[in-house]
Symmetry: C2
Subunit: 411 residues, 2 copies
């Protein structure tokens, strides 16, 4: 949680955080400012001091909503900086950063970098800035020991925001099921009222409409993958493909709050009208593995333990897994879950990147999403719900939704 940031900075010898970019769709900035329509800002947080937010004059009102101290870029006018930099724009911006850092009291130590930004400009500026501040070291983490562990455990307000997204998400999934099953069918293909076949693009457009209506956004897209595509875990589905009976449909939906806030993540696998025996059997296997993993969830346990357990369960059923073959492209070929918050994937992780901090401690929000993938047999399966670890030691699913695999057509 946020109140851990100072002690995590201390523990990892970080003297300041420099967060750059927009306050929308930029998790570190959203986390520290609360978000808002600020398109370009810098936030500097010195250890054990409140953060200071720098922005353009046009965005001062939006920035003020953060409750943070706001300073303006126009207090560091570009013209004299450009003169000082021999009209080199990159160097002028480096000189501005130098002054901003000095002004908030940072003239030495380690500064950790954060922010979803265009890499080129900032990399160029940092190359200029580094020799200008010889006692400052800029560092970037592939496994962030400060914000990611803080963000990993959610406070009650964050849990409520994710719960709201869970309600929106499952509402949209329910509407999608209703929508699909009320189409008439010709030659196994769903047909729209206008006589044309229903396409994946049509379904996704409906999904986006409903999400928007309910106050969510869908920046990462939706997976609605049929048949062979369902057998490729991250295939999003071919927009022009028709929706057909009797094919597995992996429907994985992961919207966030409008403006770029908290995510939800949810998957069901459906087969419209009927399903082949083999599909029914494989679906049941995935459901059984899902139920087993959920029933075994225990706090204060490494999340990766459940990945091993999932591989073990699928292997016992005769499926290849990435545990037996890291290059496997059929069977169970991804990790069992991940943390969720302002990132659709965040700590704790359960797969190859999991470290010793990826533990199921109180406040974590995690997906559980076992699956089986057989593109060669034109089928794939995944079941996913998002849970949080309660203070009382239990796990709670954010929203209930039925696990029916075959959805009978209503027409």
């Amino acid at each position: 949680m946020k109140n851990q940031i100072d002690s995590l900075m201390q523990e990892h010898q970080i003297d300041a955080l420099l967060v750059t970019g927009s306050a929308m769709h930029n998790p570190a900035m959203v986390y520290l400012t609360g978000g808002g329509h600020i398109t370009s800002a810098d936030l500097i947080k010195i250890r054990h001091k409140p953060a200071v937010l720098f922005c353009g004059v046009m965005e001062r009102d939006e920035a003020a909503k953060s409750g943070l101290e706001v300073r303006l870029f126009s207090d560091y006018p570009l013209k004299p900086l450009l003169e000082q930099a021999g009209q080199d724009y990159t160097r002028a911006l480096a000189l501005r950063y130098r002054q901003m850092l000095l002004d908030v009291g940072l003239n030495k130590g380690r500064v950790a970098l954060y922010g979803q930004v265009e890499i080129g400009p900032l990399y160029g500026i940092l190359k200029e800035l580094t020799p200008l501040l010889p006692d400052v070291e800029f560092v970037g983490f592939t496994r962030d020991p400060i914000l990611m562990p803080a963000m990993m455990t959610k406070d009650p307000q964050e849990i409520e925001r994710i719960r709201r997204m869970a309600k929106i998400t499952t509402e949209v999934v329910g509407r999608t099921a209703e929508y699909l099953t009320h189409h008439r069918v010709e030659d196994e293909v769903l047909i729209k009222p206008d006589g044309k076949p229903l396409t994946i693009a049509d379904v996704k457009s409906r999904i986006n409409l409903w999400l928007s209506e309910l106050g969510a956004e869908n920046p990462e897209g939706t997976i609605f993958a049929i048949g062979r595509d369902a057998g490729v875990p991250h295939s999003s589905g071919n927009p022009a493909d028709f929706v057909r009976l009797g094919k597995t449909i992996v429907f994985d939906i992961f919207p966030c709050e409008a403006g770029g806030g908290y995510y939800y993540d949810f998957t069901r696998t459906w087969s419209l009208g009927y399903a082949a025996d083999e599909a029914l059997e494989l679906y049941q296997q995935v459901k059984n593995v899902y139920d087993t993993i959920v029933s075994e969830l225990t706090q204060q346990t490494p999340f990766a333990q459940y990945q091993q357990r999932t591989c073990q369960l699928f292997e016992a059923l005769g499926h290849p897994t990435i545990q037996s073959d890291p290059q496997a492209q059929e069977g169970y070929i991804h990790s069992v879950g991940h943390g969720l918050g302002l990132h659709v994937h965040e700590m704790p992780f359960s797969g190859a990147v999991a470290g010793q901090q990826d533990q199921l401690v109180p406040g974590v929000v995690i997906t559980i999403e076992p699956g089986l993938y057989y593109p060669s047999r034109e089928m794939g399966f995944r079941i996913e719900d998002t849970y949080f670890a309660r203070e009382d030691g239990g796990f709670e699913r954010f929203a209930d939704y039925p696990y029916d695999f075959v959805l009978p057509m209503r027409t």
Copy 2:
């Protein structure tokens, strides 16, 4: 245009481009791959060679849609890299990048960095990678001389995609006007059918719904700012504020294609029911300046020339401008326009950051958006349309929309 990339690389002594991140909402990656549901990828383009796209095994089908050569991260398995790196994850990823670069034939020269990414991980990796490739220099540009100038001029396909967004945008603006003017009014406040006051949040939610329905996304939010907020150019409007008669409303809408593609950018200023004389006069001044600038647009001219001209016109009317006072917070206080494409703001620029390349050449897509801002008088005004420079030397507005300031209530 894309076919300029190799010669721009040559001109600026760049031997390769390294583009990182998602293929959604990541302009450089969208430009070079065509976009798609690829959440994490690296693209390496050696000068005079086709680009190679690296991605995870789960996203191989999506990546294949780019038409580029696709290679998989799993061909560079992490386990031996971690062993080689003494289990240091950042170093292991640096070793992977080293091998990827060597495999596409890059062992020396200058590599330009691109991509909308989380700065921390990539900065950490680049710090490790730099000494591993002593003959390679990684560079980042604050004023990108390769992709930005290429993206600045659009081919006919890009123009058509922006035109489609123009139609969607103006359709939504029209629906918004209809929606607003069909509310009943109590004490100057618009009232919804349920008897509650209409808020800015209500209006924005409607706008997002319509955009979604028409196949657009709104990642940067919408400006719908009333009264004093209209007087602060980038204030997005307070969601809880009521919509009132007789106040200036700056409505600036800049959606993009669903999935993160081309943008449109459009502004109208409205006053519902009636307007104060002073507001009518200031609006007319902005409209006259807009008309003058549009009538004077000439190709092969620096865009910044029109910024000077706009300041001159507003100053002649007695308004402060950022030309007379760079710190001005009232009057005309931003630039007259900017390029538009996969970025909502891109080359050519007309304001302080404009350089000698920011010229109105054939194929550029630009906004023209003069405005006046008087927060102290609780009013602000902006008119904005997007134009492109035709091959025949003329300029064309993408979509027409009326310039009415006072919108009569229809109830």
